[in-house]
Symmetry: C2
Subunit: 356 residues, 2 copies
């Protein structure tokens, strides 16, 4: 069953209103959420709505938060998200980065006291219409073990880099710093399938292909999977995201990041407030004549699209290309929700008196 | 045979003088180069000296270059390295980033028309004494194939993030965005050993464990190794480094980056000038009270050092820890050069009339 973007966005909007979120914020949060489904990042869209609701029911999300700047320089700022939705704090912070870039070439914003911000690409892509490079990152609940460790110390801590272009679609690099994101494990679990090696390890730190390894106390592996294949690099990237997002802003970091699932309680002795994000914007014309930049980036895209293929039927992709294709398709044909998500949403709707 | 840091640095200094580099620049370039050997990044230190010399002999390095700012805003700048040594242009550009961060919180500098810059960590670590976060990146000669391609399109394009600390050693994340750096292949070649799977592919794009695969026209694989293990992420990171370093500055990008080896000619139709770098500096107190930042980062380091070990005898490492250990050891005991490098340097010395 396919739903139109408008249908789903309105459903979300109504649910956010029921949580006493203001109309303005409800419209924004539902837009950010549906963008994930449109881009094909199903694990970060509507599938998360009931998770947000449960956190709110537990009093762990402040529906009336108004994110505010608590410290700033000409090119930087720190934002307190006041314990509210990351879906709202993130675009607020990214807009500050953009405004600062207008003034002085670049803008950089670290955010504390926030919650899950949806997909990084939404926020970083706000830079595009201003001919700016956009950057977004966030830390997340600990699931990933550093190289040589069996303990969950880092989230899948994604980083996103977005580069504007002219003739072609922009370049959107949006990636978890673990080998596989949790969403991929959940799919394998549902299908009862084995995982590729190098995604997870058991509680004892043994390599595993069991889709339930994480459920049973194991951990995800950093990008690179093992020492021979550079897992210390994935660990390093996850660490950089954690520090920029949380040590710089005053949010919780590492194993102290509060869990997204409401049935697990946050650490009673936190080292900061909420979770953290980091955003950046740079004007391309702060570095180079706009026209020259756009000529070069379009050449870059054309050349990489035409890189020699291994399989003649499989084209080399530009980062972000599959998501743009999905976006176009789903904007036209609607969004198909999987059964589990649909049932979950209908239950949620019934409880809140909103029909889907 | 062990050499003292001073001995090797002086040898380098004399060689640079013979290339008609100014005294000031020769001192800087030799310091940057020896730093790589001290930190244990042997492939990027003295072992490169004869490579630099051959490029200079071919007229591909301008020994009298004076890097200069060609465009700037309050928080950004673009530098023209005038075809000189990256070893000199990089610290120049990083200093600009630091000066801008002093003024407005952060500074960001893209560099064109440069050459190999040694190790990224040297430049990014310049931020540390100013209580700033340091970032450095560079593109490099094409050796890495994007996911689904068999063509060398990107360099090993390293990125480096450095975070200052107080009680402990700083965090230094310095990593190629390929699974393995070229230096590791050369070691396996010398020892006649097989490579782990996932490092290289053949000219036809077939997975390979042959240490000579690259020599025979194959390519390195992006961090992640294959699609199942996130090679599109390594490809994305390498792309981001390429664009920030070169598309933003006007240097050559992708397959057009001139080869480091002098026996290969640069593309006769370049898309830019030389190779490109990118640097960043952010004041920690632009985001948070210094003392709070330092308390948090020290807590971060302590907690990660104490993460549960898989093997009780192998401690979890903080990024940069092994290099600091090597630095301390080699500063005291001297630097042991391997036979091939030593022979190469003595040959070079004989030719230039400098004794080692």
């Amino acid at each position: 069953m396919n739903f139109s973007k408008e249908q789903l966005q309105d459903f979300c909007y109504q649910i956010f209103l029921k949580m006493n979120v203001s109309e303005k914020h409800a419209a924004l949060a539902s837009k950010v959420l549906i963008e994930a489904d449109l881009r094909g990042i199903d694990s970060h869209g509507l599938a998360r709505l009931s998770g947000y609701l449960r956190l709110w029911e537990k009093g762990r999300i402040n529906a009336n938060a108004n994110p505010k700047i608590i410290r700033e320089t000409l090119s930087t700022a720190t934002v307190d998200a006041e314990g509210g939705f990351g879906l709202i704090a993130a675009p607020f912070a990214m807009q500050i980065a953009i405004d600062k870039a207008k003034q002085c070439g670049s803008g950089w914003v670290s955010v504390k006291n926030s919650n899950h911000f949806g997909i990084g690409a939404y926020h970083a892509m706000m830079a595009l219409e201003h001919d700016m490079i956009g950057i977004s990152m966030t830390n997340a609940s600990p699931l990933v073990a550093p190289t040589l460790s069996k303990e969950r110390m880092l989230g899948t801590n994604p980083m996103c880099y977005v580069f504007p272009s002219k003739k072609h679609l922009p370049i959107v690099i949006d990636m978890a710093t673990s080998t596989a994101a949790n969403g991929k494990l959940e799919i394998a679990q549902r299908l009862g399938k084995e995982l590729p090696s190098g995604w997870v390890q058991t509680k004892e730190g043994e390599p595993s292909t069991d889709a339930n390894a994480l459920k049973n106390g194991g951990s995800l592996l950093p990008l690179g999977s093992d020492k021979d294949h550079g897992s210390h690099k994935g660990y390093g990237l996850g660490a950089a995201v954690d520090i920029l997002s949380a040590v710089l802003s005053g949010a919780n970091f590492g194993p102290w990041v509060p869990p997204f699932v409401a049935f697990l309680d946050p650490d009673p002795n936190p080292v900061g407030e909420g979770i953290g994000h980091f955003f950046g914007a740079m004007r391309v014309d702060a570095f180079r004549e706009k026209e020259e930049y756009f000529n070069s980036i379009d050449t870059w895209i054309e050349r990489f699209k035409n890189a020699e293929r291994i399989d003649p039927t499989q084209a080399v992709l530009i980062p972000g290309e599959p998501e743009f294709e999905c976006y176009a398709k789903r904007s036209k044909e609607g969004i198909m929700l999987n059964e589990v998500v649909l049932e979950d949403l209908r239950e949620l709707g019934a409880k809140m008196g909103i029909e889907l």
